[in-house]
C-alpha cells in the first residue's frame, strides 16, 4: 500500500495479463506470421499463390484432407454416441458413488498417452491377430480411446447443470420420457455437445501419432505437414498448415453461436434470474 502512494505505477488487473500477452506474441502471433509469409512466397521470396494452387490441384493432398476429415468425423460420431449415454446416466442416474464411476472414465487421461496406445496395440493384436489388415478401424478405435473423456466431460457438466424443473414441467404437461428427452434435455445439452465435438474433432484431424503407433501408414494432415518440412519444402508445408487453420476457423465460426449463447446465459441453463 505504501508503495502505491510513492510511485505512480499501480498494479491493475490488466497488468496481470502481460506475461500471457508476451507469450501470445512470441509463440502464437509471431510464428503465425512466419507461416503466412512462407505460405504465400516461393523459394525466391516472391509473393505467389503457387502453394495454394499446388495444394488444391493435387489429388493426393486433397485426398489426405478428405481422409483426415473422414477419420475426424467418424471418431467424433463414435465418441458422441458412446459418450452421451454415459454422461446422461452419470448426470441423471442416482448412483451412490457417482464420483467413483466418473473417475473410471476420466482416469485414462492420467496415464501417459503413448503408453495407453501401446497397451491398446497389444490388446488389438490379440483380438485381430494381425493389425495391418484393418488400419482405418484401428485408427478409429485408437482415436476414440484417446479422446472419449474429452467428449464425456463437457456433456456431463452441461447435463448436471441442467435445470430439473424444466424436465418436471415437461412431464407435468404430459410429455413422455422420450419426448422430454428429445424436446427438452437434448436441445439444452447442445453447448456441451458442441464443446465436446470441438475437443475431439480438431485434434483427431492431425494426431498422427495414433496412426503411426497403430501401423496406419497413410498420411493425415499432421504427418503431411511434417513430410513437407522434412523435405525442406517450408512453403508447401506452411500452406497446408494455413489451409488447416482456415478450416478450423470456419468450423469455429459456424458453431460459435451456440457457445456464445451458453456463455451469455450463464449456468448453462435457460433460466436466468
Amino acid at each position: 500500500m505504501q508503495l502505491k502512494n510513492k510511485s505512480r505505477f499501480r498494479l491493475s488487473r490488466a497488468h496481470l495479463s502481460l506475461p500471457y500477452g508476451l507469450f501470445l506474441v512470441c509463440f502464437v502471433l509471431a510464428p503465425l506470421f512466419v507461416i503466412i509469409y512462407y505460405a504465400f512466397t516461393n523459394g525466391e521470396g516472391k509473393v505467389t499463390l503457387e502453394n495454394l494452387l499446388g495444394f488444391l490441384e493435387n489429388p493426393k493432398t486433397t485426398g489426405t484432407l478428405l481422409y483426415s476429415f473422414g477419420i475426424a468425423v467418424v471418431t467424433t460420431s463414435v465418441c458422441l454416441l458412446l459418450a452421451y449415454p454415459i454422461a446422461y446416466i452419470l448426470a441423471r442416474g442416482k448412483f451412490r458413488h457417482k464420483s467413483v464411476v466418473l473417475m473410471l472414465f476420466i482416469m485414462p487421461m492420467w496415464i501417459n498417452f503413448t503408453l495407453r496406445i501401446t497397451a491398446l496395440k497389444e490388446i488389438l493384436t490379440i483380438i485381430e491377430g494381425n493389425l495391418a489388415f484393418h488400419p482405418f478401424l484401428n485408427t478409429i478405435i485408437g482415436m476414440t480411446y484417446d479422446f472419449l473423456p474429452f467428449m464425456i466431460l463437457p456433456i456431463y457438466t452441461t447435463l448436471l447443470k441442467l435445470d430439473k424443473s424444466l424436465i418436471e414441467a415437461s412431464s407435468d404437461l404430459g410429455a413422455d420420457a422420450l419426448q422430454t428427452f428429445l424436446k427438452v434435455t437434448l436441445p439444452l445439452s447442445v453447448p456441451g455437445i458442441i464443446s465436446g465435438i470441438f475437443m475431439v474433432f480438431l485434434p483427431s484431424m492431425t494426431n498422427y501419432v495414433v496412426l503411426d503407433m497403430l501401423y496406419n501408414s497413410t498420411y493425415i494432415m499432421g504427418s503431411l505437414i511434417g513430410a513437407y518440412f522434412a523435405a525442406y519444402d517450408w512453403h508447401g508445408g506452411s500452406m497446408i498448415a494455413l489451409v488447416l487453420l482456415m478450416i478450423i476457423l470456419v468450423f469455429t465460426l459456424f458453431t460459435n453461436r451456440y457457445a456464445d449463447e451458453d456463455a451469455g446465459n450463464g449456468r448453462g441453463g435457460v433460466v436466468s434470474r
Binding site: 512470441c26 509463440f27 509471431a30 510464428p31 506470421f33 512466419v34 507461416i35 489429388p59 493426393k60 493432398t61 486433397t62 485426398g63 489426405t64 478428405l66 481422409y67 473422414g70 468425423v73 493384436t125 494381425n130 493389425l131 495391418a132 489388415f133 424436446k183 437434448l186 436441445p187 439444452l188 447442445v190 492431425t206 501419432v209 503411426d212 503407433m213 501401423y215 501408414s217 497413410t218 498420411y219 499432421g222 504427418s223 503431411l224 505437414i225 511434417g226 513430410a227 513437407y228 518440412f229 522434412a230 523435405a231 525442406y232 519444402d233 508445408g237 498448415a241 453461436r257 451456440y258 449463447e261 446465459n265 441453463g269 435457460v270 433460466v271 436466468s272 434470474r273
Partner: protein, 518 residues
C-alpha cells in the same frame, strides 16, 4: 546412423517454435559473446546424433578386459575426457558444448536457421550435400600426417573405410578431404529363420511376397524405401551372372542403385504403392520390437539395429538372422565434418580448427572407439594402428568362439584391419551360426561388401521428384473414393445439417424464453 530417424511427435510445435526463434533472432552469430568471457578457453560446439557417443558412468561389472591386456572402462562422457586430454597434450583449455540432432534433415534445417557448430556428424548423403553447397572446411594437411602420434584418426582408421572415403568424389573433390569416418554399416533384411528361408531373405523381393502378406516391414523414410524398390525393380539385371562378373561391376551397380530418372521414379512409385498393400507397416523404431515379438517375420533393417534386435531376441531364446540381399545393399557411414560457419565465426579460427581436429583424433583412439561401440552398438570406422589390436580383440571378445567349442569357422576380417583380405592375423574364430547373425551384420565379410554401394545425395530437382513420389505413395488419393462413399458422406452431412438446424432452433427458442422470462 540410421537408427534415430524417428519422426518427432512435436513436429508442428517444433516448426512454430523454431519459426518464432527465427523471427526473434534473425540469423544469429550470438556465440561470439561466449568467447569474450574467457580468452584462453576455446569453446568447441559439437553436434552429434542422439545417443551416439559413450556418456560414461559404467557399472564396475561392465569393465571390459580384453585378451591383449587392455581394459576399457567409461567413467566420464568421452567429450569430457577429451577436455582433460586436450589440456594435458596441448596445454590449452577447451570446453565442449555438446548437443544432439534427431535426423539429417533436422540438422540441415537447424543449420539453415542459423545454429552454429564447429563439428557435426551427419550421414554420407548429407555430407555430400553440405560439401556440394561449399559449407565444409577441409581438414588440414597436418591432420593426415601419419608421423604425428597424436593423429589418431589417420593412424587408426580402417583401410577399407579410408579407401571408400578417398575413392568417392563430389564435384571433383574427395570426401576424405572433408570428412572423417565415425560409424558405418549396411542395410539388409532381418528375418525370422523359422518362418522365412535364407533364400527368401536374400532378395529384396521378399517385401513383395504374397505369402508373407502383412508380415514384412519397410522403413519409414524415402531413401531406404526407394533403395528397396530399386532392388526389386532391377532384380533381374542385378542378379544376372554376366552383370555380376563384369569388371566394372561395382561402378555399374552404383549407377543402377542411384538411378533417379523420372521413369524409374514413376516405376518405383507404382511398385511402392503396390507394396503398401503387402507390408505390415512403415517403421522407424518399432520394427525391432515387432520382430522380437513375432508380429512380423522380415524387416528392412540397418546393420546396427539388426544387431540390437538379434541381441534382444537372444535374451528371449528366440532366433533372428540378418541377410544382405544378392541384388545389392546400401553402404552408409556417418562422418565428422567441420563447418566453415563455425570455424571462421569464432575468435581464433586456427585454434578452433585445431581443437576440432583434435576432437576427431581423440574419439578415433581405439579405446574411445570400443567405448562408443559398446555403448552405441554400431560399427566404428576405427580398426587400430599396426600393432594395436584393441579393436580386433574387442570383436573377439564379443563374437569369438569359446575354446571348448568344437565346430568353429574362420571368419577373415583382414580387409577391414590391414587392407589385405588374406591377412592371417585378423581371422576371428567364431561359431558357425554367427555367419548369418550379429558378427555378419556388424562386420560383413568382404565378398558381401562387394555388392554394397553408397547412395548419393539427391540434387534439388531429384530430391523434389523423389519427395513428391513418396508423398504420393503415402497419401490417400481422392480419386480412389468410390461413388457409394461419396453418397454416404453427402447423406451424413445433410443429416448433420438438418439435426443442427432443428435442435439449434429448439435450443434458441429455449434461450429466448430464458432471456425474456428471466
Amino acid at each position: 546412423m540410421r537408427k534415430r530417424t524417428r519422426r518427432k511427435t512435436g513436429m508442428l510445435v517444433l516448426a512454430s517454435v523454431t519459426a518464432a526463434y527465427l523471427a526473434l533472432h534473425g540469423m544469429p552469430q550470438n556465440n561470439m559473446q561466449v568467447f569474450a568471457k574467457s580468452e584462453d578457453e576455446i569453446v568447441l560446439r559439437v553436434c552429434n546424433w542422439e545417443e551416439y557417443i559413450d556418456t560414461g558412468d559404467w557399472d564396475e561389472e561392465e569393465r571390459i578386459a580384453l585378451d591383449n591386456g587392455v581394459e576399457i572402462f567409461g567413467e566420464k562422457p568421452l567429450y569430457e575426457d577429451f577436455e582433460d586430454w586436450y589440456f594435458e597434450t596441448y596445454g590449452r583449455r577447451v570446453r565442449v558444448e555438446y548437443s544432439c540432432f534427431g535426423t539429417n534433415e533436422d540438422l540441415y534445417n537447424q543449420l539453415n536457421l542459423g545454429d552454429t557448430y564447429d563439428l557435426v556428424c551427419p550421414s554420407e548423403y548429407m555430407i555430400m550435400k553440405l560439401m556440394a553447397e561449399g559449407r565444409l572446411e577441409p581438414y588440414s594437411d597436418t591432420f593426415y600426417d601419419k608421423n604425428n602420434e597424436c593423429n589418431y584418426y589417420v593412424n587408426n582408421v580402417s583401410p577399407y573405410i579410408y579407401n571408400v572415403m578417398n575413392t568417392n568424389e563430389i564435384n571433383g573433390e574427395r570426401w576424405g578431404k572433408y570428412a572423417a569416418g565415425y560409424m558405418w554399416g549396411i542395410t539388409g533384411v532381418l528375418y525370422n529363420p523359422e518362418q522365412v528361408s535364407l533364400e527368401e531373405a536374400s532378395s529384396w523381393k521378399i517385401f513383395a511376397d504374397e505369402r508373407l502378406k502383412r508380415q514384412v516391414a519397410l522403413k519409414d523414410n524415402v531413401r531406404d524405401s526407394y533403395f528397396a524398390a530399386l532392388g526389386i525393380l532391377k532384380a533381374d539385371l542385378l542378379t544376372d551372372e554376366e552383370f555380376r562378373s563384369a569388371p566394372d561391376y561395382t561402378k555399374r551397380l552404383e549407377d543402377e542403385m542411384n538411378d533417379t530418372s523420372q521413369e524409374t521414379i514413376d516405376e518405383a512409385q507404382a511398385l511402392l504403392e503396390q507394396l503398401m498393400g503387402n507390408i505390415y507397416s512403415l517403421e522407424t523404431d518399432s520394427g525391432k520390437a515387432d520382430m522380437v515379438s513375432g508380429k512380423i517375420v522380415a524387416d528392412y533393417q540397418w546393420s546396427g539395429d539388426a544387431v540390437y534386435a538379434m541381441d534382444q531376441a537372444d535374451e528371449d531364446d528366440f532366433e533372428l538372422c540378418f541377410s544382405v540381399p544378392k541384388e545389392g545393399a546400401n553402404l552408409w557411414f556417418d562422418g565428422w565434418v567441420m563447418l566453415k560457419d563455425g570455424i571462421y565465426g569464432s575468435a581464433d579460427s586456427e585454434k578452433q580448427k585445431h581443437a576440432a581436429e583434435a576432437f576427431v583424433n581423440f574419439i578415433s583412439r581405439p579405446e574411445s572407439a570400443v567405448r562408443n561401440m559398446y555403448y552405441v552398438g554400431y560399427t566404428s570406422s576405427i580398426a587400430g594402428a599396426q600393432g594395436d589390436d584393441t579393436i580386433f580383440e574387442y570383436i573377439n571378445w564379443c563374437y569369438g568362439a569359446e575354446d571348448s567349442e568344437q565346430d568353429t569357422i574362420a571368419y577373415p576380417l583382414g580387409y577391414f584391419f590391414s587392407g589385405d583380405s588374406e591377412d592371417e592375423r585378423y581371422v576371428i574364430t567364431a561359431s558357425p551360426e554367427q555367419v548369418d547373425r550379429q558378427l555378419y551384420a556388424q562386420y560383413p565379410p568382404e565378398e558381401t561388401l562387394k555388392r554394397t554401394v553408397v547412395m548419393r545425395y539427391f540434387n534439388e530437382e531429384t530430391s523434389k521428384a523423389i519427395n513428391r513420389m513418396w508423398i504420393n505413395v503415402r497419401c490417400f488419393d481422392i480419386r480412389d473414393v468410390p461413388a457409394a462413399i461419396w453418397l454416404a458422406v453427402i447423406a451424413v452431412l445433410l443429416l448433420i445439417v438438418f439435426l443442427c438446424y432443428n435442435t439449434g432452433n429448439r435450443y434458441r427458442k429455449f434461450a429466448e424464453y430464458g432471456r425474456n422470462g428471466g
